[in-house]
Symmetry: D2
Subunit: 439 residues, 4 copies
């Protein structure tokens, strides 16, 4: 019996992490073949990663067949799982997503605001194509989508592609659970958070340790200044009044929405001083690949942890293992709402605790949105629908609507210049916009 | 540390089963005290059961303190779990529920049609009082409601009592799972059925074995004539056309709704030949208690299995064990919908797969009702709401509405005589109706 | 400026009524051209009606151009309104709809139960074709659908045809308003009934006279035995208890659902004594056409009123007049729910008070379904959806589901024989079923 | 027969307008008695207005009995209509609502942002008391609520007071209809706008002239720079892209939400140059009352039109006339949603076209929210619910939640100082906050 994993975007600097996860779980999740796929532009990195991965497998002394290729269709044959971790346009595009909005006086961030919208615009068409390929070539395979904005991308695929076996993953819920465990001095496996919301806009509603409600304790810790922000975004802390009003655990990305001015000031200052985050990441990447090249290196190097997306591999490997083994354990993934949050559409993708089975994730009901955040969550979901619509239609008006309805933009006069500049900057990766406009 | 279980209706002939279950699970669910409670009318039976239970515990050599009493309030002190298995008015009342409708030319059945309505009318006020006692005396205790009509009763308590820790259980989903396992030659623990609907009106939507969809096979078996009806109700089989139209697993009680004429004819004939089911049960009960009295008997006797409610104990003990141990396993119970079936009200009680935790059951989303049965399920739920309303208000018009909106009655002209006769027959147990009418 | 009306099924015995209505309203609704269209089978009747209509117009001395034809496409050119009053299969088919179910022990009625389902099966495909023709040839024309089952047919067209300008009409709300006015000794134009439900399953929620709530008075009159049943269906009266429970005005067709046994007994007896209704109607029709032929007849004859569908013309002419003149008055029609009854789907067709404008009917909100009838109304709507689905797919299982989910059938064992006999009997008019089954 | 109108806040400078409206409509709406009511603080103005009103009635030579009083309970006896146009705390309070937010760098406006929230906080408790008085003293009277924020106030009364005959009115829809008529060179009575949303957040979805859809023409006019802003708020125009994206008519208040930065800059500049709007209004008021005092003045002076609220009287008088005469015409008012917009709660108050009857307004269904604005409308409604909750509870956390969830604030760090300053500034009028906090 075979168990084949295809990693799309295999040349990513994160790949060694997922390779390590596969190796570690070999007993319960016995992968027999891994194919790393990437595009022409990432050919060199792909080869570096491929060779490192081979050395890692060799060291682990496991019989996993590993190869790398630019031929995606070939790679997909007989695949059981397809993980995606792509970055359309690479770090250059990310740099533009961060820089252009900032230069217009708006938040410039990889997955939020105008930058996040454009990341979706570039990514969705590419992953739509992948999903159609998967549906044709290996229709029983699960797509495990790491690619950001993970929730929006997953909703786009589930709504608009023929392939319905798509699950989105993110490390934020994992981080929140682990940080909360630390706050409470509990084992992470004993901690459960009831989440409500969407990817990068999820709140924690209740925290249980071994089934006992510890929410109040965690909220107090947050007021006391403990936090669980990952390395890659700001961390300005929360006011007591905010936490007391919501009685919910915010996630770090909520800072963009409730501390917009402070974050913007800080980002503008940081930009002047250090340049944008994408450039920092670019530097990190270069040194990582320098390390990866070392033929003596036969394991995931410590330096990788400095990169933001820690635990992605853990999240993805756990998920694939539970599907494969029909474990029926509870994991937090991005999947169809289907009534879990009655206020949101049944076909919306939410980030929610699910029982993971061989036939996919089954959400646990969350119940109505908490009254304090129901408006903003609903609006963000409606905004996401606008982004998906524009990603598919390539219609300028649809894109404009997404801009003015985004809470971090919400400016019908200033949107035009910023939107036009971003469209021009990312032109190469936005065929849907430029073909439909007759250019 | 103590773990106290109170069994309300402890004099029931089912009690030895639950005692056996407790004994068997002692390692993982270490009950330290059991109190059997009953009412004056059941005093003698209570003592017989109590003594048998003591002998069973003694034989098992376990340190469980067991006692019996008519003083409910005292019994509830420090309780962790309160299970209910009462029969207000006893088998005499059941006999009237079966006989009177039949004599009017309608289905006479314990939990369906006019009989089921009156069972609810008698039961809900008594369990409302219990719930208020629990809320006052042992507010952290879970009420595990066995008492039929289990779904309606559970919804009444969750809507109208202050105590919100109430879970309803029934053996039908358990039976369906086990019968299905047998059909498929699979281990019951490997079989999962996705249920949709309410207690005694639940359908099986999908059958999975180790996560693999086997629904089509089970439907074929049903067409081939295999069935899973319990001993206590009719079993007329299903037509190929019905199964092909629905593509769902009906439960045995659906025969009352889709084979009404045949069931009625059969029941009328059986009534003429053997009398009603309640009388048969009465005979069974008498011989059971004769056996229970035997001081040599130190275990649950084989004869108990002839009684209809097999596996109730298994269902209840599994549930309490999983709550106690925060097992997060999946069980099928009656709890608040909360969006699991978006077409039904959030505060409706449905029979649904739940993750069982220390803080209660968390339903898995079911999604929209299947199009073929959405009408009848919605109507049955609306009918149940009418029953609950009338049970609480004691208003004659509310009761009349429940009668004419029940699919097994649905007769605005013939309802009056039947309703009036049932009200008179059960007068002693219906204070809400007779006080409110000024009698 | 022209104003052209096409009457599809122009050979119907009802046509003189609509012609009379058009003549009477000529000042405000100045029709310039009428074309009567019918099928080959109705050619002779069409000519009789055409000639009578010509004489009526001549007598009224109006400049309306009237013609008749079998060429529907030609007739539709430049039409402004298309009214439909067809009977696929004629009275022969109706006779089968009434007789076959009765012979199986079920209600046999033109628009309810198995007969109503088959009327839908025969009618929907024919009107779908008409709607597509209208959409292609005269896309701005309104289809005013008289054809029964009017609600189901209208929903089928609005859901499945490209033409969205379709309104269904029925005389039941009109009758209820006029009978109520009579009960209250008020002018009909001063009476408003708030309706809730669907065609032939509509309830009156509130009765206002000049804006004053008179509901209680009307309910009392109903209890006292006054009623408003049209000539063509039974009239068994309502019990005080039923009216007191519902606090709603039932419509005459509700007798089939809440007095099923009595109606069935009565219909079976009447069938034995006088044959079925369709045969009575056949006789009426023959004598009507004999009268129509009389070249001296230059107006609608009194005898027409004995036919069941009185006031249809009034209802249709008022509607067309208000659309044409953008009157913004309130009329009760069958149109998309769109939230008027939040419990029902937005795309369901309901019978509801609407403001009538040039751009169509705009429903007034009704609010949530009354708690007593919400179950049965929801179920009937879900049943209607099954009928529509089967009408379109021609799938045997879909038809079977409609049968077992109809409250007047609800018998999974006895449905097969009745369904099969009806399919065979109506074979000529059910291409969708026989092609899809490979016959 | 009597017809009595009570004007609460009768000392308002707007009162002469409503008096003029009453006089003008005397034939169809024959008011027999008017009582002007005000509070101690407004005593002097009340007398000036009362005397002017007397002179106006005398000039019109009508038999309307007019009086003024501070005794509200006495005034309410036998009232048929109670109109409210109060300003709790007067223009001084308004000045603080405008000034304090501006000084914190946020929009300072009478009915939007922090200022609007505080206007609600001051007004709701006062009108709750009025509603309870009305319910006790003249339970059949309609409350016609002019008082801003009119939608929020009306929802608060309908949700939390016993009196359910409450309708909110605003001149924005009236203005939009009249301005649109002007744009299209049509008579205002021929123009209908389908509105969607809430008071001060309403969009025009469709514009019909005599039933013909003219929406596209109006949108083009808006792009061309025509607008319909009232005198009292900014008018910055709309970009072509915004109008093209939404395909809806915004209302002038939408500028605060989609041109926040520009409005804020402009307001800050205006504040520096001319002071705040409240001070301008204060000046206008003073000169108005100087004119009103003139014993020769016997009609509404032209100068009143410079005040912002033009047409309020027209709106209110039309509404009362249609209720009184059961006109069944269509007017745009604030009333319970009841499904008109299925996405919003049934008990939300929306601004919607209604048929006006003696038994109240009946909304026409609007249908699902347009996809571009559904998020922001839903959020604004959820925000309004937070404001109402805080107005009733007086809970600091509830107020904080309203602040951070308002799109014009949305700043969890900067909210505290602004909220605290506003609470302190308005302390006298916020007993619910200061009692509940134990001050």
């Amino acid at each position: 019996m075979t168990l084949k994993l295809v990693i799309v975007g295999g040349g990513s600097s994160y790949t060694p992490e997922i390779i390590e996860g596969i190796i570690r779980r070999h007993d319960s999740f016995p992968v027999t073949e891994i194919v790393l796929v990437d595009v022409e532009m990432g050919k060199e990195k792909l080869e570096i990663i491929g060779k490192l991965a081979l050395r890692m497998i060799e060291k682990a002394n496991q019989s996993i067949k590993l190869s790398w290729t630019l031929d995606r269709e070939k790679a997909l044959e007989n695949a059981d799982f397809v993980s995606t971790q792509i970055r359309v346009g690479g770090l250059d595009s990310r740099a533009k997503d961060e820089q252009i909005p900032l230069s217009h006086g708006f938040i410039g961030q990889e997955t939020n605001g105008a930058g996040g919208i454009f990341k979706a615009f570039r990514t969705i068409p590419v992953l739509m194509e992948l999903a159609e390929d998967v549906h044709r070539i290996c229709p029983d395979a699960w797509i495990i989508n790491f690619t950001n904005p993970a929730g929006i991308v997953t909703e786009a695929l589930l709504k608009h592609s023929a392939h319905k076996k798509v699950i989105g993953v993110c490390n934020i819920p994992y981080n929140m659970r682990h940080s909360t465990a630390e706050m409470l001095d509990a084992a992470p496996e004993d901690v459960k958070i009831e989440f409500v919301g969407m990817n990068h806009f999820v709140f924690g509603k209740k925290v249980y340790v071994k089934g006992i409600d510890r929410t109040a304790d965690v909220l107090q810790k947050l007021v006391d200044g403990l936090d669980y922000s990952p390395a890659n975004i700001v961390n300005l802390g929360w006011t007591k009044e905010f936490i007391d009003s919501l009685k919910l655990l915010p996630n770090p990305y909520h800072q963009y929405y409730f501390q917009t001015k402070d974050v913007l000031e800080k980002d503008l200052k940081a930009y002047e001083e250090h340049g944008i985050r994408a450039e920092v990441v670019q530097g990190l990447e270069e040194s990582l690949f320098a390390i990866y090249k070392n033929p003596e290196l036969r394991e995931k190097p410590k330096e990788l942890e400095k990169r933001g997306g820690a635990f992605y591999s853990e999240v993805a490997c756990s998920l694939m293992d539970s599907i494969y083994n029909n474990r029926e354990d509870i994991q937090t993934v991005n999947t169809l709402n289907n009534g879990a949050i009655p206020d949101l559409p049944d076909d919306a993708v939410i980030e929610v605790n699910c029982v993971i089975t061989k036939h996919g994730p089954r959400p646990l009901t969350v119940g109505p949105l908490p009254h304090t955040v129901k408006g903003i969550i609903y609006q963000m979901k409606a905004f996401e629908e606008l982004v998906i619509r524009a990603s598919i239609t390539g219609d300028y008006n649809d894109a404009y609507a997404a801009f003015v309805m985004n809470p971090l933009i919400a400016d019908e006069k200033r949107s035009k210049a910023m939107l036009d500049e971003l469209l021009e900057a990312h032109k190469t990766y936005l065929p849907q916009f430029f073909n439909s406009r007759g250019n």
